[in-house]
Symmetry: C2
């Protein structure tokens, strides 16, 4: 565990979550035809841990202390700081939209055919399959809209870098690729390396991208970037290991989604592969790797990131 | 009709299409798990008119003659020209990927449930529904990957502007929004203004974006931009009017897709609303508006754009 008091994270998280929810509420479904806008808001509202936005904002905080002259030496430091804070908030929302769209599509009958998500009917149950398909598609596009506002002081280099990081994390070499491997491996016998690769793509890459997008709203040096990447990698994998553990140890009410479905679908998991105790040890080791990455980064303000690593390890849903 | 000889367009188009096909072949499905990569390539290959890429490249040609010092005065003109030519090729492919993904999702059973596209089985018939869903999702992400290459001389302002234009054209206030209106209006009585609004979003906005993305690979003045926007608007709408005419006048073999399906699904069309003759006149008027936009732009090299407007009006599929 990191040394940070739990209450400080709670206060910080509450403030950041309030900003994120307000921004999502301002930005999602606006200008959309009514049914589509409703489905998009439904998909994004009411939920989840918002881990990805918190990672973006915590990483932004970690790099903000380093100053911003590397972004644009000609600009006033205070104005640049405000623009980069806005960029981080937009990035936080954008990565959450990618996550939200992936859940909408993943729940559809042709994929996991799930009817319950965070205790609510899934989007296709509520808005029909075609409505869910389009809402997911529009949420993905909206993520890139948020990163490239029409009139903004956000440096164009930061806008382009955020799009670059998010597109790669969402695409065929990232989340969508992981989903495809998952689809192809139902009922297959995977070894640990294959399982790790699948999860790295399916969930790990987007979690790491959250960290790197926060870092892109500043000018960390090479060592800081490498340390943050190490943190993001380890945290991304730890998240999935813990997810697999929770799937067998928690009931549906606590999870807010159908428990035990991995076993039901004969999906390979860390628990089915390693057993529950070794899976717990694996998560613990990854938590240590994440903290080691923070230490190696040389950045000073990494308390929030450390506390988020704790949260990932200790979460119950 | 514009005064440009047909053969000159044919030669230019053939050269641009060869570049586009080669680029798509280099960039689509690379780094994807094998099933996903195959489905992505299948969705993009073998077809279509590639109207959107041609619009991007023709618009780039129209603005290229104006010089590039407005993009970056500090850079060598020849190097900048090469970088902007590359940006236009990437934009041409990116907009085609958005178009391709929309067809993949639109053909799915929960949408139009179409089994034939360009004379081939649709993606979900070939790769399953889940495969088609993921291929579409990954194609959308890839579009933004192409616009933000890892190492590139393309000015970051151009990269950000291309993402900005494409994301808005693809999203809830553009193509996805138009699909949602289309979905909600099956069997409904729309008037001409409502029909125009639906088509403007569903197909018009992406066609206009193609023109504006080509223009963004240069530094046209305000009058030139306004003229190109006028051209793009009119062309986008003309395309759909002609599509509706073809749906009732051509057979499936010529179209390469199921003919008469609008009437079968009781979808409102320009032909059902205006009658065939008035629809033809409407397309002719829009063609005139498109050419008027080019004239108003004050740009010199607009012959390709004019010829593409002719092609849209005169096409048989």
């Amino acid at each position: 565990m990191s040394g940070m008091p739990g209450q400080a994270l709670t206060d910080w998280s509450a403030a950041q979550l309030a900003r994120t929810e307000a921004a999502l509420s301002d930005w999602v479904g606006v200008g959309a035809p009514s049914d589509l806008g409703q489905a998009m808001r439904y998909a994004v509202q009411g939920g989840g841990k918002r881990l990805r936005p918190l990672l973006v904002l915590a990483a932004r905080e970690a790099v903000a202390g380093e100053g911003h002259s590397g972004v644009d030496a000609a600009r006033d430091e205070a104005a640049l700081r405000a623009a980069l804070d806005e960029a981080a908030l937009r990035a936080a929302c954008a990565v959450e939209l990618i996550h939200a769209y992936s859940l909408v599509h993943d729940d559809m009958p042709c994929m996991d055919n799930d009817v319950l998500r965070r205790g609510k009917p899934t989007v296709h149950v509520q808005f029909g399959e075609a409505g869910a398909l389009l809402a997911g598609d529009a949420l993905q596009a909206l993520a890139f809209e948020l990163l490239t506002p029409e009139r903004s002081d956000i440096p164009v280099a930061v806008q382009a870098q955020l799009c670059r990081l998010l597109a790669r994390a969402a695409g065929a070499a990232g989340m969508a690729g992981g989903q495809a491997i998952d689809l192809a491996s139902v009922g297959e016998q995977l070894d640990e390396a294959q399982l790790r690769h699948m999860h790295q793509l399916k969930t790990g890459v987007l979690l790491r991208a959250s960290v790197m997008m926060g870092a892109a709203c500043g000018t960390p040096g090479a060592a800081a970037l490498a340390g943050l990447a190490c943190y993001g990698n380890a945290l991304g994998l730890a998240f999935q290991v813990v997810d697999d553990i929770l799937d067998v140890t928690q009931d549906s009410a606590t999870l807010g989604k159908t428990a035990g479905k991995d076993a039901f679908h004969s999906k390979p998991t860390y628990v089915s592969l390693l057993g529950i105790e070794a899976a717990r040890q694996c998560a613990q080791n990854l938590h240590g790797e994440a903290l080691a990455g923070l230490a190696a980064s040389g950045l000073r303000n990494t308390e929030r990131l450390a506390a988020l690593a704790d949260m990932v390890l200790l979460r119950s849903n």
